[in-house]
Symmetry: C2
Subunit: 430 residues, 2 copies
């Protein structure tokens, strides 16, 4: 752990610097697989599934029987937990629905804004040791509320050709329309171009390793939108003397266990708190199953002491953390003034785990400083805003002259003419 | 003009195909200039301004005196037109403000969503023959309503080192905080990295030629967000016998004059209407100052006859036009069911020009089929959504068990532990 006391503002960006990732080596591989999937479709997908996942399918779509078996095999306890989480996520995301915005901007000029669903979306759920069924909830629940017609889920098969039952259960529960046992670059490529058996989608959501991340970036060059650029997960905790060191340590460790590149930062106005948290981390770390991973992330973590809340806020705002926990007697100050953060957890009983799983907020959040310019996934991520206008004769008379003058000044005579013709027709009709 | 009668659905995608653009040649140039601006800052920017725009500045920021002169030189008529447009744009975008979404998802678990401004934004306004002061309004007005602190505008200088006065007037009127006489790739690079005199921004908005487009794409690899991917402008008109051929022709031509690659499509259930529009186009085209450009775009345009409204809707939805004008006795059918379009203009008195300038809707819209997955620019484009949660002891007791079970099932023990510690503390406190 790196302890830093009262760093000068000019050193902040170096202290808070995130590790840059080089992707150039990967890019070539990703481009090759994309090109092959574009040309050969299912055949190429099957080849890479065989190569990377060690299984070969006649049909990579998960069957109804497979889903039924999965539903059967998930414990009632886990099912209940997933259902509770789903209910809270539904409550929170349903409340994000917006009404039509209708404005008569000037007499006779009726404009409105309406959100309509993105019709076809793709969800990518990684395989590996941690089966992220929670991410299925976070993406499929709002997609359903938005009204997306087609929700395709791709996830890599294990060595036996299966997807973790909890993922299948969650997907089935949340209305995913098609589940496909395909992972990695080939999954993203298939959803980008469409194959004989995998539909082309308009937007791809979900986490993944660096291959998937680069593949999602490449997908955007072929007209597909993505949820957001990805990076290692991050947590910054602001803790003063009102925080509980054991809680703070447990939150920092829950971030650290994600991966060796996880970003873990404590900012405190209390030197005693920094010391206490440091000790607690050592104690709690010992018994963690993912100790090896967490230990490395903790070694790179930063414990930063600053003199006052104002400095703390400025420093945190410059960093723009994905997750930001506030344990401070002045919590309102931080809540009201933080400009850049993905999701904010307030008080001693709001651990990041709550937002990761079950409180109802979304856990797909901007990392890597993207909290400065990107929203976390929310209901609007699955919709697009469209505008409408209906102008009456009176309306075009009210704004026609202004349009003519502006179009002329921009040198666009045909734009002007479209209005002039109409104004004349109205005049002649009188 | 290409007339097509009752095309079979399997031919739609070929008929509606947009020209693909190759950018590979440009990419190298863009990367070089980015790298140089990143390393050398203002010096590199000045070099490229001198090279591409033929002027050399001591200071590229527009001075207060320059703004005052510009304000003086714009005609009162144009000022009034710009002010009317600004007022309507303000009305429409102010109405898009959303309240905090506050939900107690389960007893003791208080979650809310709030939108906060992107603090630093950059606007790019092209130079050239058409001074796009209207785009200044479309971007700076909502940026101001959103509350962005820093609004930087870059636009290339003319041969005499000036920016068009109408652009300066509009920028000044709409609260742009800094106007800089820098254009092209070097402008985008400067706003991406920041230089001694040009601020780094978090999100870049605005149109531009293919160099600017590629530069904006590259900017996203350095952590900057952009409004949306760009492509040539498009208009699709649905017209039945209730349309006015002269109006329809004038709208198609106003699209066609944008550039030779503009996409111009008429879909009609009336063969007589197609013929009448074709004749009107020829007549109106003759007197246009930008005839040479419009003529080429019109030569590539498509006039498509279909038998019925249902087929028309499906075809239009597959295309996903940037601008969609509906002149039909069944206008409600199209308004209610269109899934993919940027901005929709309804009835004979709603020309696209109205939305381009003065009705109040935004004219920065998704082209190239991006209406399927991207919103046009709106108030939310200048903000990001953040979530907050405050959980009470009761709240964590309500969801704690579910979190523990789910975290354990995902193999994330430290996530579980963060909850277990808290639940135990509450129990022990009793």
């Amino acid at each position: 752990m790196n302890k830093i006391f009262n760093p000068k503002p000019e050193t902040w960006s170096a202290i808070l610097n995130r590790p840059t990732q080089t992707v150039e080596d990967i890019e070539l591989t990703v481009k090759e697989i994309f090109s092959e999937v574009q040309k050969k479709g299912d055949e190429a997908v099957a080849k890479y599934t065989s190569l990377f996942d060690g299984v070969r399918f006649e049909n990579s779509e998960v069957s109804i029987v497979e889903i039924e078996c999965a539903v059967e095999s998930v414990s009632p306890e886990l099912k209940a937990a997933i259902q509770l989480a789903k209910s809270n996520i539904e409550n929170f995301h349903s409340a994000q629905k917006t009404d039509k915005v209708i404005v008569e901007t000037i007499e006779g000029v009726n404009c409105w804004q309406e959100k309509r669903p993105i019709q076809k979306i793709g969800l990518y759920i990684p395989g590996g040791t941690a089966p992220l069924f929670s991410t299925v909830l976070m993406l499929a629940v709002p997609a359903n509320i938005a009204g997306c017609n087609e929700i395709v889920l791709c996830s890599p098969p294990d060595k036996n050709g299966n997807i973790n039952p909890a993922i299948l259960y969650a997907a089935h529960l949340c209305g995913v329309t098609k589940i496909i046992k395909v992972g990695g670059i080939q999954a993203i490529a298939a959803m980008t171009f469409g194959t004989q058996s995998i539909p082309k989608v308009y937007k791809i959501f979900g986490p993944g390793n660096q291959f998937v991340t680069v593949a999602k970036q490449l997908a955007t060059q072929f007209g597909v939108a993505i949820d957001m650029p990805a990076g290692p997960s991050e947590l910054l905790i602001l803790a003063d003397d009102t925080a509980v060191p054991a809680f703070v340590a447990s939150d920092l460790l829950s971030q650290a266990e994600h991966g060796v590149d996880s970003q873990v930062i404590l900012v405190s106005t209390s030197k005693a708190m920094i010391e206490a948290v440091e000790n607690e981390i050592q104690t709690q770390l010992e018994v963690l199953p993912r100790k090896a991973i967490a230990e490395k992330a903790i070694a790179n973590s930063k414990l930063i002491y600053v003199d006052n809340d104002e400095t703390a806020l400025k420093l945190i705002d410059e960093y723009g953390p994905e997750h930001f926990i506030i344990c401070s007697k002045n919590e309102d100050y931080f809540v009201n003034n933080i400009g850049n953060a993905g999701s904010i957890f307030i008080g001693n009983y709001s651990p990041e785990s709550a937002g990761d799983y079950a409180s109802g907020t979304n856990h797909t959040l901007p990392t890597n400083g993207y909290a400065k310019n990107y929203s976390g996934v929310n209901l609007d991520s699955f919709m697009k805003s469209m505008t409408f206008q209906k102008i009456s004769e009176k309306g075009i008379q009210n704004i026609g002259k202004a349009i003519e003058i502006m179009a002329e000044a921009e040198g666009l005579q045909a734009h002007k003419n479209a209005v002039t013709l109409r104004l004349k027709a109205i005049e002649n009709g009188k």
